[in-house]
Amino acid sequence: MDLKLDHHSEDNLTIVDVEGEIDVYTAPRLRELLIDLVNKGNFHLLVNMEKVDFLDSTGLGVLVGGLKRVRAHDGSLELVCTQERILKIFRITGLTKVFGIYASVEEAKEAHGRDK
């Protein structure tokens, strides 16, 4: 399955919906979207990965790159993910300590609201 990307803004938060496979072939498209959002002043990003079927280290690199960019603007990049197969790669690489990972968009929005 290819990669589908969409995004919309709610209050101060930009929600990026990702569907499909994030790998060495498709990850550049996600990277371009994150760069574009940051360049347009969206510094608080929530990447919804609930419909992601596959994520490899290239995809992780893109997310880490996005995090670096938003942090340069005192922003945030957090994730929504409950799939064990995806969470496992975050655990293996220790990135669960780097990203805020939430069980739902609503939960992430609540946490984001508290942090504002």
């Binding site: 496979e21 280290s57 790669i89």
Partner: protein, 142 residues
């Protein structure tokens, strides 16, 4: 002799094909459903690394993958033909430079997923051999 041997042009688009083939052969070899995702991810990481190595050093050479049913183990060997061991899946910045923050993540992921991994020098480049337990007579034997 390998159960299946596959060579493919070093293009990112073909890594998905390699993952799908590896998962299908693993299932037929009798690898448990619970660890098929690990096989898929580890093979994808090894192939991504090989593709990036070839794109840098020898884009005309194919990447080779061997999938073997070896006495109760499902064994995968990904061989590249690129000199040097400094290559890992990378994403280019907008200006073409490599993002530095993900060095060696791919190999780290493979090591975390396969319970038996060897990274060896190949005839020209590097060879990554991984294996997982499989049922002794595999699904293909039925």
């Amino acid at each position: 002799m390998a159960t299946v041997e596959l060579t493919f042009t070093a293009l990112p688009a073909h890594v998905r094909t390699a993952r799908l083939v590896a998962t299908a052969i693993a299932r037929r070899t009798g690898v448990a459903e619970a660890i098929l995702d690990e096989v898929r991810l580890a093979v994808g990481e090894a192939c991504s690394r090989a593709v990036e190595a070839h794109r840098l050093h020898c884009p005309g050479e194919p990447v080779r993958i061997e999938l073997r049913d070896d006495a109760g183990r499902f064994e995968v060997t990904v061989t590249d033909a690129a000199p040097g061991d400094d290559v890992m899946p990378q994403v280019l910045e907008a200006n073409g430079s490599l993002m530095p923050e993900i060095d060696n993540l791919g190999i780290a992921v493979i090591a975390g997923l396969a319970d038996d991994v060897e990274v060896l020098p190949g005839p020209k480049g590097m060879r990554i051999r991984m294996s997982w337990p499989a049922s002794a007579n595999g699904v293909a034997a039925f």
